[in-house]
Amino acid sequence: MLRFIVRRVLLMIPTFFGVTLVCFLLMRMANTDPVTADLEAGVRGYQVSQEALEHLRQLYDLDKPWYVQYGKLVRRLVTLDLGTRWQDGRPIAEILGEALPVTLLLSFLSLSLSYLVAIPIGMYSAVRQYSLSDQIITVILFMLYSLPGFWVGIMLLVFLASGGYVNCPWTDTPGCFPLQGWHSFEGFERMGFFGKVGDVAWHIVLPIITLTYASFASLSRYMRTGMLETIRQDYIRTARAKGLKERTVILKHAFRNSVIPIITLLGLQLPFLIGGAVIVEMIFGIRGMGLVALEGLRMPDYPLVITIVAFTALITMVGILLSDILYAVVDPRITLGGS
């Protein structure tokens, strides 16, 4: 087990460098940099002198060959000395310190929610296979699974937050939910702890729904399949033959083996969640990793974008590793790393 983990962690190193290199080369291929893009055209009608441009290029290492730039970037990533954002000179570490918790909050809340809902629904519809409720659930899940996430986000925004169509029954405001942001812009600092929690919760209801429903639908479908396979096993028949209650058979005997497949999906859900978070953050104006990256891309501030891509890639890889370990923990038949 320990050997497996060590080996996998070591394998993550080349992958990590690959990810940063791919992203770096992509961004450098653009052949534009903030200096060229913004300043050569002049600032407020004044031409910027060549010396000033050169000085700026030197400051950001843009005059150096690509491997020097990449080397410096990697050194900064490895030593966690992330530097500053070109746009306003704020430390990248500080920006990430604000954005990362928001994205993580969204992702983990949505992940746990989708597991919490998906497992019972999948089990229910497997136990009642071919019944009317199973068929209805299956159709609804299938449709949810095919719904484009950004469309759902927009529809929620238009119909529940814009206030143009629905007058909220429980508040006096026209829209039920806020249009933008993950907390109130005014007065958030002065709120007490519970006030803050409530405010954030109110703000992230729609984003969480948008982020959750798709992964919830696919998880329920996997759960149903897993459960259907499990309840056909001999040991389930044995358990029934012993005279155990149906409830015990399903919840104690069948449940444990049928969750195994969806636990391995935990790691695979992460990249989708983070990808989905980019779109959700954009729609609902939430300043998480995705929105910060998009802003950096407009500059184009390549150290910022690559730092964010590297971070999300790292989270993804750790997630996949964790789900592999979890797989071995819940299923003792699986030995990691082979012989």
Partner: protein, 348 residues
């Protein structure tokens, strides 16, 4: 008892002419009504995309105008008709002139400035956007983009996936290690961010944007196909007939192309159908984020983008999204049906 009867059936049909693998899969697929409906809807969408200029255009299909006969003014540019849009043309027509008009008399870039941001009406069945363009016409023309992106991106990603996956699976060892590392790198990249980065780099224009989107989706989406075909090949490789063909002196290329790939292709077909749904969804998302199809071309995601500036225009929010949703759904249904059809355990 049941199994015995089934066994008899198999023997009997084998004694007659064997229908062949693909005919069998086809009939399995055709047996379910949802699959037939999904396939018909796909055919309809393809038809709409192909005939977009005949369904929605600001020029007639056939026109007899002031003693002259115009064939397909909706496709070809006639200098004499350049100054007319549909409304002006109808006004200018005299007794004796006649025209065969498309169902939707608006081009996807016709700006009806008297009807800016209006809800559905008898003039514009699905309303207009913020520059007075007909939403229905833009949805009809947008189907071209989504179909083109879907087909080409999937062809590309299946091509890359099959090539790299079969190399990794067949040769194993160092090649496998290297290729699987690459798969892992691509898989660890946050998809949407990387797509956006790539598109920002390419900064395409016009139909080049469609090409660019196909390219980047293909370049990012191939990993699951590669994994799938690698696994299949690891399985097929050990089968006796592959050993037999090697014993006969077949080269590596021949074994891969003639024996291994055709036997692993069914699951790839299923994956390709699902990938079609994903590619269309991604194109929508990219255009929605403003990195995809430029605004002067019609695309579903681009239409949806306009809602962010006009949250009160429910018709722009609902209809393009519905088109996207239906398209994605029917491809998913077809993929599911195909997967069940090739699964021998579910065969009846």
């Amino acid at each position: 008892m049941k199994a015995e009867r089934k066994g008899d059936g198999v023997v009997a049909s084998a004694a007659a002419v064997s229908p062949g693998y693909y005919a069998l899969v086809g009939s399995q697929f055709w047996r379910r009504r949802v699959n037939r409906v999904a396939l018909a809807t796909i055919a309809l969408i393809v038809l709409v995309a192909l005939l977009a200029d005949f369904l929605a255009s600001d020029k007639p299909i056939l026109l007899y105008f002031r003693g002259e006969f115009f064939i397909l003014p909706n496709l070809f540019r006639y200098p004499k008709l350049q100054i007319y849009d549909m409304r002006l043309l109808l006004d200018a027509m005299q007794p004796g002139d006649w025209a065969v008009n498309p169902i939707v008399p608006w081009g996807y870039n016709t700006h009806d400035l008297s009807q800016v941001l209006q809800g559905p009406s008898e003039w514009h069945w699905l309303g207009t956007d913020a520059s007075g363009r007909d939403v229905l016409s833009r949805i009809i023309h947008g189907s071209r983009v989504s179909l083109a992106v879907g087909v080409m991106a999937v062809t590309l990603l299946v091509g890359i996936g099959v090539l790299l996956g079969s190399l990794a699976g067949y040769f194993g060892g160092f090649v496998d290690g290297l290729l699987m590392r690459i798969v892992e790198i691509v898989h660890s990249l946050p998809t949407i961010l990387i797509l956006v980065v790539m598109l920002a780099v390419i900064a395409p224009e016009g139909w080049g944007a469609v090409l660019a989107i196909m390219g980047v989706i293909g370049a990012v989406g191939w990993t699951s196909v590669a994994r799938l075909i690698r696994g299949e090949i690891l399985r097929v490789k050990t089968l006796d007939y592959v050993t037999a063909s090697r014993a006969q002196g077949a080269s590596n290329t021949r074994v891969i192309l003639r024996h291994v790939v055709p036997n692993s292709i069914s699951p790839v077909l299923v994956a390709a159908t699902f990938a079609m749904a994903t590619a269309i969804m991604w194109e929508g998302a990219l255009s929605f984020l403003g990195f995809g199809i430029p605004a002067d071309m019609a695309s579903w995601g681009g239409l949806l983008q306009e809602v962010r500036g006009n949250p009160s225009a429910w018709w722009i929010a609902i209809f393009p999204g519905l088109a996207l949703f239906v398209t994605v759904t029917v491809y998913n249904i077809a993929g599911e049906g195909l997967r069940d059809a090739i699964d021998p355990r579910l065969r009846t």
